[in-house]
Symmetry: C2
Subunit: 237 residues, 2 copies
């Protein structure tokens, strides 16, 4: 398995610049394969040009050329010719629906899983890299043809994972309760709760937790477990 993935919980930390918190990981991830060009997928947003410009502003000073997939007349071809792919955050439903309608699910799977195309995901872009979008936090503003996603890893991620706020008087469900509800469903895969400022690096059959914070792993029928930064999570693969 040649896959190489960098799965970020989120793009921007409070008071931080876009992608800044993950800069050294991104540089290392792309430079190790001598990547110069990044194919950016802005489908999680409605404003493709604007969003792509924001990514250009962040990545070009770091030495990478950024192209928005929406600028290409043939997005499938763009994926086939890419040196690396970055799927940004926004609305997960909109993103997955657009990946389906542009026929990009199988082409991205093939490129990443068979040809080792380096894949960076952030937030919604991390959600769609997993088995399904069943554990997104987003509002279902559009109806995708399925919740099944790219399946580049055999588990799900909950990005922007949030601990319960014991001072809150709001009665909406906590994140943990929502994930436990998901695990009522038979055969539901494990869910990794990735806090903001954390990422999962996958290299072949090796998975490592990186970034600033521990992550919380939920497995159907078991108590959740915390894993520290640096933890080897390869058993999830």
């Amino acid at each position: 398995m040649t896959r190489r993935l960098l799965l970020l919980s989120n793009s921007t930390l409070h008071n931080g610049k876009y992608l800044e918190w993950a800069k050294s990981e991104i540089l290392d991830f792309l430079n190790r394969k001598n990547v110069k060009k990044v194919l950016f997928v802005p489908y999680a947003s409605f404003t493709h040009d604007e969003y792509t410009n924001e990514v250009k502003k962040a990545l070009e000073p770091w030495g990478f050329q950024v192209e928005g997939i929406h600028s290409s007349p043939d997005p499938v071809q763009a994926v086939a010719q890419a040196e690396s792919i970055f799927i940004g955050g926004g609305n997960t439903f909109l993103l997955l629906k657009t990946l389906y309608s542009n026929g990009l699910i199988a082409p991205i799977q093939k490129q990443v899983l068979e040809n080792g195309l380096p894949y960076i995901g952030s937030s919604a872009g991390t959600n769609v890299s997993t088995v399904s979008i069943n554990t997104t936090n987003d509002m279902p503003i559009v109806y995708p043809p399925s919740f099944m996603a790219l399946n580049l890893v055999p588990f799900n991620i909950n990005p922007h994972y949030l601990d319960p706020d014991h001072n809150s008087k709001h009665m909406g469900e906590t994140r943990e309760k929502r994930i436990k509800e998901y695990h009522e469903i038979e055969d539901s895969p494990p869910v990794l709760g990735l806090r903001e400022g954390s990422l999962l690096a996958v290299d072949g059959n090796q998975a490592t937790l990186k970034g600033h914070y521990s992550a919380r792993l939920f497995v159907r029928g078991k108590e959740p477990v915390e894993y520290d930064v640096g933890a080897d999570l390869s058993f999830l693969l």
Copy 2:
């Protein structure tokens, strides 16, 4: 139009008992039609018996007999024979999927819109009474055959509406931002943000905001507007 709806943002307030905050509205709503029996729909939860017992414990001391629709061998028949219907909260996706798989969408619409069956919804049960579940806050733990819902009113509701927390360092989208993203979509209906402890009472073509807090109305292409308790929102119908 004979419809009579009581659409609650939520069932339980912080430190409160189940449905207690809405007791006088519920009593008035059901007693005005001399209702003695409530058909309860526990489909938003995985534990139908347990959930129905919780509702019994709340409503029976107020003088109502509660039957869980899941106890009936024929749920369509149960709806046809009901004196009133109450759809409780939980997971909106699970609820809507189960309404579809049990063939209950058209029967409930007919009973409420043509025969004036009193309908109480809470949280997910309020979401499914509207045009679609596009503005639920829930996690998409199962895939329903559509996001289109009962369409008992021609707009959407966001229950548990939450104002932005300006002290938060969390970078997930605010509720307002999520609803504005929904309104990027052409022909998307208005969305009423109902804060916890608020409800919308619909009587024919009359809609009134009741409960403890103002509500925030989002209309595509316009600035959001606050409406005070007691406001006449019939223009939404």
